[in-house]
Amino acid sequence: MSGLDALTRRFVGMAQGERSLVRLVGLALGVLILFSALSPNIFFSVINFQTIAFGVPEIGLLSLAVMVAMLTGGIDLSIVSVANLTALTTATLFAAFGATEATGGQAVLLTVLFVLAGLLVAVLAGLFNGFLVAVIGVTPILATLGTMQLYNGIAIVWTGGEALYGMPEAFLALGNNTVALLPISFVVFVLIAVALAVLINRTPLGTKLRLVGANPTAARFSGIDNRRVLLMTYVVTGLLAGGAGIIIASRSASASPDYGSSYLLLAIVVAILGGTNPFGGYGTVLGVVLATVTLQMVSSGFNIMRLSPFEYTIAQGLILVVVMVLDVAFNRRRTRAAAPPGGTGPAAPDPQDPTRPASATSAPVR
């Protein structure tokens, strides 16, 4: 097959298969143009875009975690608890070793070490989630509902419900400094997103992950070890949540058991808005990133228009419901126009071209 031909097919496939992505770009541009027109001086300014970029990483990482869990048809409700546990580990280590006073190379070294220690806790938390889901066989929503309480409880016992302070400059730079106008945390976020996209689209684990989500039975009969894939899935979500925790801690210069309690629902909203199929098999990193940026722009726009945060909550809910309703209405028309019913079984996604599997045509009730 000639390279040009393959390229054309690929683009046509993307345009057809990733409608949700195209629609998201439209939505993002629409929001951008709307608020820029309403408030050209304040919204459409470098400072404001910088503010938006500061807000994106933490919600983006949590949403990516939800997306990865949804790829396998699961969900991870414990992400915010894991994020806080990670932040508390790092903060406690900083306090224990008096790292606030450290300067220069020593501070950087300690920061790297303690961030890694925090992420190790996140991996362990994810591993336990994965153990419950993959080995014990608990439904993901229940397993993570339990561990959400458990991890949050551990964090509360740990600090007595108080926030921890005292972090070195080297650590705070991550959440507060910029390079060439871009926040460092945003650059880190983009790097993580790219790495995750490579993991999902270009590695055997990524392919297996989508296959398990699209059809667990078929995946098992194709020789995929579902247990190991699920275990790895929740390690990845834990790690992403841990990253969010580190960024939250460095941005707020503190760690607490009850930061970001509203982020869990927001992360699920963003993941769905990003075109992730909650029943498994389909989701893209780019979609989730676009959805995060869009919602952050709406949030910032609402702020500038002096609308209350409550009205932003309404907007979040409305966007989610309207997008889902439009999606269904659009799909119904398409399936009616397409082949007669009954003839099309659920097609497994082609590993080379991960377009949407047929599961989108008739969503089950739940």
């Binding site: 066989g137 509902l145 309480q149 458990l150 909203v269 989610l320 889902m324």
Partner: protein, 356 residues
Amino acid sequence: MSTATAPAERGTSAPGSRSLAERLRGRNNEGVLALTILVLVLVMSLVNSDFFTVSTLFSILRNSLVEMVFALGVLIVIISGGIDVSFPVIGIFAGYTAIVLARNGDFDPGVIGALLIAIVVGSLLGLVNGGLVARFKLPTLIVTLGTQGIFRGVLLAYVGSKYIAELPQSLGALSTADLITHQHGSTTSRLHVFIIPVVLLCLAVHWLLQRTMFGRGVYALGGDSESARRAGFPVVRLQVLIYVLVGLLAGIAGIMHVTLSRNANPYELAGTELDIIAAVVLGGASILGGRGSVVGAVLGVLLIAVIKNSLILMGVPGTWQRVAVGVLLVVGVSIQALGARRRARRHTVELESAEV
């Protein structure tokens, strides 16, 4: 009530009485749950003489009144194979709106009036959920996540975001109305009169689920919606009804919460949804639908209340409560999952041997 069956169960674990043991165990392990509560109560009574008192019983009951009504709604929706995370927001929306209406109109709607307002508001919000779920066949978790945000936003932005310290007089009077007052030494323990409507609601929902066509439909829908449709159940109407009912129950729970706490705070209740879902799941309802019972849900709520109360009496710092509930939930769902897996394996073996 069900605690009475638990000691009998231990006695009947002897061989030969399997059917009775299984019946006591309950279809959704209600018996095991009752036994757990009983053992916990026994241990706690031995450890701390303050535990086995009327006042402890009354305070546990009072703390679980509102949760129990919410749990009934959650139970129905979980049996039907769905999930609703918007019910606490619906509850506080209904309760708070009733108080605000009374304040703005400067009238006292009376207990019945306030209840009616809350029921109407709750049902209407439930109708929004039901309409979206049934009409567009959207995943229930996502819809109710979205509507939760919308309801909460509308409540705080347009109905009001202020704490109201004073209730209309009729509700204020009701908040201190006790069914039983028990004098023991210097302490007086009270059982709130709301225990009567809560028990009645439990019985009503039990009857609805076990004895009516609607209940059959809920279980059928949770088992398999396509099969339910082919069996002739009006799936769309059923789903709308289910969510309206959840909204209605949430409205009742909301006005009860406002009355019991003697103030109306629009920021309360939101965020408790997962705790109540946890209690219902602990009570044996399957998150996949088709299984669950009122007895189980009530026992689930009670178990969590008893554990929280025990921890306080044992002098465990309040910070440990969340860990304890988390451990309980993880262990509970793990045991259920392992049991389901064993059953499934036995079933497969039977099928395979039948095929051979």
